[in-house]
Symmetry: C2
Subunit: 459 residues, 2 copies
């Protein structure tokens, strides 16, 4: 018992220092979607590698995943009989626009009301730093870790991890483990833990419609040629019906309907539609009829236009009939939808529904991820569930997420292992939005949780 108390005390004693280090980490604008930020993604990788070395982890390396820096580390001194886990997280962040809606600049982290505000605070820098600190606590107080630990931190999760699959194939032996524990994910609430057992997949397409070869005077030419913005509106409108059902031919063909047991498990989780709507500032929720809000978010595929633009975007009036209009679309997928198949069905839909007078091009993004489910009684989930039950005084719910951890299905396919989600973000922390934050209470509890998890896995 001395062994687990000592790391716990070490974590408590160093909390202020660790918080300062988190602020430093968050000040690196490692936005993976914007090519101009590649140097900052690299700087974040170097920061993570240095912090692992400082923790006492024996082997630390910044590797190259298709041009993107990826941090790998290992500390394998617990012996062949001890389990080996691979810890996953990511040090890249979402973009920051609309930047004018941030209270403070997104990469100038500040603490207000016991929360750290910065882009990436909750997703995922705050969470991924925690197991490094927990490792340090064990190594500095006991000189060892109770299990064999590997670390894999990537730099392009927020763009759909286009290169991680090849990286994992190329490093299959080195990454081998009993299972993965992901430091990207969250808990149900401040007082209620959960185990995430399912993620949606992802596919992305971008549409460009071209009408006249140049922008035209809307007076001289209005009414004589198709306007690509009007054509794009008809095309987007053709993709979902007025109740939110997706009308792409074949879109739902491979969708596994939630089992009675699944639906029951979900129905037991407290959820209030009115409160949910109020929290988002909308009068009504909206979506595919016949499913509850949580079922739509967790078990039903979605198609959302993430961005659209065309013509004149500045202040004032410009009487132009534009040459082009654009839309960026992503779908969230559920078992057994295949990203490439769904992307291709969207392309077919665009080509067969393009209104007259415009030409369409459809770019299928390399970003894509299969949907993923892990058994609730997996040994990793059992260990994690025990730690969470102890720390929260409540058994965890078994939930799913509408989000995507592309890595899970990739690790399953190439390493043959499942991934257990063990992270401490909360849903209200504005991931991907202005004023993202992470609770210091989660940062503190997460450190204790990871420190105990290793002991629990070792037992």
């Amino acid at each position: 018992m001395t062994d687990t108390l000592a790391p716990a005390d070490y974590l408590a004693d160093h909390f202020e220092q660790f918080t300062d280090e988190l602020l430093e980490f968050l000040s690196i604008p490692s936005i993976s979607a914007l090519p101009d930020h590649a140097p900052h993604v690299a700087a974040a990788a170097d920061w993570v590698a240095a912090r692992l070395r400082q923790a006492g982890v024996t082997t630390v390396e910044v590797m190259n995943a298709g041009g993107v820096p990826t941090v790998y580390a290992e500390h394998l001194e617990a012996g062949d009989d001890a389990p080996t886990i691979l810890i996953y997280g990511h040090f890249d962040t979402q973009p920051v626009d609309p930047v004018e809606l941030w209270t403070n600049p997104p990469f100038t982290p500040v603490i207000r009301d016991e929360r750290v505000y910065a882009r990436g605070a909750s997703d995922d820098k705050g969470n991924m730093l925690i197991p490094i600190l927990a490792a340090e606590a064990w190594l500095q107080t006991t000189g060892s870790l109770p299990i064999n630990v590997k670390f894999l931190f990537e730099g392009e999760e927020e763009v759909g991890s286009p290169h991680i699959e090849q990286f994992i194939i190329d490093n299959r032996d080195r990454l081998g483990c009993d299972y993965v524990v992901s430091a990207d994910g969250g808990q149900f609430g401040e007082e209620q833990p959960n185990l995430l057992v399912g993620f949606k997949g992802l596919c992305a397409v971008e549409i460009e419609l071209t009408g006249p070869e140049r922008d035209l005077h809307s007076g001289q030419y209005g009414g004589t040629v198709q306007n690509p913005i009007h054509a794009l509106a008809r095309l987007i409108a053709s993709m979902r019906d007025d109740e939110g059902r997706i009308t792409i031919e074949g879109f739902y063909d491979e969708v596994v309907t939630p089992s009675q047991a699944d639906s029951q498990q979900i129905a037991e989780i407290p959820h209030d539609d009115a409160e949910f709507a109020q929290g988002l500032g909308v009068d009504h929720l909206f979506g595919e009829p016949g499913y509850s809000t949580l079922e739509r978010a967790w078990c039903r595929p979605t198609l959302e236009v993430n961005g659209t633009w065309g013509g004149f975007l500045d202040d004032g009036v410009k009487t132009v009939l534009p040459s082009k209009a654009h839309a960026k679309i992503t779908c969230r997928l559920v078992p057994d939808q295949e990203p490439a198949v769904i992307a291709d069905r969207i392309r077919q839909h665009v080509l067969s529904h393009t209104p007259p007078g415009v030409k369409a091009t459809v770019a299928l993004s390399e970003s894509g991820a299969r949907p993923y489910l892990v058994p609730g009684d997996h040994p990793g989930n059992q260990a994690a569930g025990d730690v969470l039950s102890d720390l929260y005084g409540q058994a965890p719910y078994f939930t799913r997420s509408g989000g995507t951890l592309p890595i899970c299905s990739v690790l399953r396919e190439h390493l043959g292992v499942f991934t257990v989600i063990f992270a401490f973000a909360l849903d209200d922390e504005r991931a991907h939005s202005p004023d993202e934050f992470f609770r210091l209470s989660s940062f503190r509890r997460g450190q204790q949780a990871w420190s105990q998890l290793w002991q629990r896995i070792a037992n």
Copy 2:
């Protein structure tokens, strides 16, 4: 005859100097739609005033039209028996985006192949400079003008002249005239003159749809709330049917159908749909069934989205469910549609067709103009027609324009006078588009035409 030959020779002798002056005028980036460019609009006004003084015009003043500089000048020495005309033009320009499609920077004028390339070259700086030069030619060679001439050059035509109406009301007596001659407009072709007898009106609205109060993670929230981009697509799609008819309730109620004579006159004007389509780079023309292309452009009202945006617009993938989506719309109106009435019907349509789950706000722009028609046999049209017939060796067609000269209906209402269009732009000169240009041949012929017009009016 000495009197008319002398100005003609003066114009020919000074053509090179006048061309240099046009380039200088075009180098002022007087974009009226962009507030940052207000100082350049003011600089353009000062340039015009200085050029009028240099020409020998007796009274020149930069006046204030609701905060926007407006140039007024007069030379009233032909006596009470001589006719008085008011010359109209504008020194503001359209914006320049997409600026990357310009061969040369839009405000660095260059001459290539006997054409002046610059934003505003054709619309309207090239045209509005011409009568100033023609006045100089008369004043420097004969010491006088054969008629009384007033000049009114405005600085916000390209945003729909929101302040000119009040300015005209406030200066009604000073602006009094027998009729107006507009130096904003064009000819049918290099060899074929025309008299423009009709313009469309204009109204403008801007729509903002708001779904969730902040941008959301499309995984966590996709499928649970309305996406304002999808809602906007449905809304835009609801405004026109799939053949291009406008489906706003009451939109066509006051539209005067072209008379048999009108249709006949238009049918006589040579027009080739295939050539027209090829010139715009489209496979098919598109628009309201039952009308020819010229009828749609000239006699039927239009509704065009000029710009739309929402969500993530940068490179790459951002999995966001955006809070807002926007569209800017202008309609081109025909007799007897009222801009305010049509704008209000669009607002009603938006409010009654807003999809569930989003809130709509509709801003009605102050920019607006009534449609306008001038009798073909008006004395000003007769004088202009005689000059054009002489110069081109062809009688002019009587055409209309899908464009808007808001000033025409305002002058008709408050000064009780018609406006004759006497200008030399051609349809292929890319007004409002990248690589706008003006032909030096038009600049030359326009100067002779204006010089002769005054003599013809005096007779």
